[in-house]
Amino acid sequence: MTAKHAESIIDGYLKRLDGELSDLPSGRRREVSSQIAEHIAEARAQLGDETDADVLTILDRLGEPDDIAAEARARFDVSPNRPGLVEIVALMLLTAGPVVLSIPPVAWVIAALFVWRSKVWSPRSKYRGVYVPLVAGVAVIVVAALIDGLFSGFMQLFPYVVALPICVLLPIGSAIFLASRLGRRMPALGWVGIVIVCLAVYVPAVSVFVPPKVSAFMSTPIGESPRPGCSGFYGTVQFSPNMPMVARAPINVGICWDGTSVRKTWGPDCYADYGPGVIVNVEQCMVTSSPDGSLLVQVSATERPLTSFAGMVSGGTTWRITPDGQIEGFGPPTG
């Protein structure tokens, strides 16, 4: 009689062995693993009536797959493959690639080529971890592109709303799977490098999804200066507030008011104020007089992450300064 869990126990053992033998040339690898499989089959045939414990004993006597693989490497004079640049590049492309190369499957396909070149991951890991998800993901994208004619109006975006997360999340899943197969074999410095690159790519890319904030204030608040008074108007569009990649597009105007009208004395001065990771571009920087004596201050700008060609956010506003020197449109002056 066949033991209850024999097939799954043996299958697991042979899979582990196959993974451990991945450093060997494929012919040698096949020969060793089929010899081991024959050994198990023969030992089971000789038992006749077997139990799970008998199967485990056979495997115990054979030894741990990594011991067999170590012996095979020694006999064939093969040094174990250590993860290196190919593996690091593949993992970076899978994690940060879809963000950088905004046509999502492109980085994914390039990553698959690097994975294919790698001698560290076993063929089984490559198929299950990368090739199958890639084919499935690309199939979903193609289907989404084909059926987008079926939807109308706002719903036309629906296929892409489905396809885009797949293009970003599936490769990350692949990367986590492949990384777990490397474990401690990868030097710590390699892991640190991958994490740093991912943070450097993702933080700016995510920060553009944070809605911009606008604020404005007068250098001399009303009531504190004699009529007619003069002051500086300072408005700011703040991109990615509360993120490390915070960026600004300020507008500064000098104004004077006399109770019936406001007029410009200097400006407007506009500039882009941003750190590494994002780029701000000022599109419009304008001051116009209104027939009722008020002044309209307009600024609009765009922010885009340096690490991705996809995301871009625009922000801008118009403030109205009334003839008595009050800012309208965006509440009380903020500092």
Binding site: R28, E31, Q35, E42, A45, Q46
Partner: protein, 116 residues
């Protein structure tokens, strides 16, 4: 998940690894054997084989070096068996080792026994 294995660099382990190759050839010189049978015959002698699975990489290498070849035969009790058989090149290698080994053994023995 990856278990660290201490490299088997001990002198005795090295000697065993080197000698087992010729023990396999010697067994196959008596008669052809299939894998499990060969492993069981080696394991009968205490201290020769600790993990049975490590014999198969050796057999693969011997076959690649042309000292052993294989053929398939039906079995009455189970799946077909891969039999291993020594080749003329294997016999030559075994003969060379055999004469070297007996000289080496008696030389070492003379010191080991004289030292007591």
């Amino acid at each position: 998940m990856h278990r660290m294995v201490a490299p088997d660099t001990g002198l005795i382990a090295q000697m065993r690894r080197g000698a087992i190759e010729y023990c396999v050839l010697a067994l196959l010189a008596q008669r052809e054997r299939y894998g499990l049978e060969l492993v069981q015959d080696l394991a009968e002698v205490d201290g020769m084989v600790t993990t049975e699975g490590t014999i198969y990489p050796l057999l693969t290498r011997l076959r690649k070096d042309g000292e052993v070849d294989t053929f398939w035969q039906e079995s009455t009790s189970g799946p077909p068996r891969r039999y291993y058989r020594i080749t003329p090149a294997g016999k030559a290698a075994l003969g060379a080792f055999r004469s070297e080994w007996s000289r080496f053994r008696s030389a070492v023995d003379r010191f080991m026994e004289g030292g007591r």
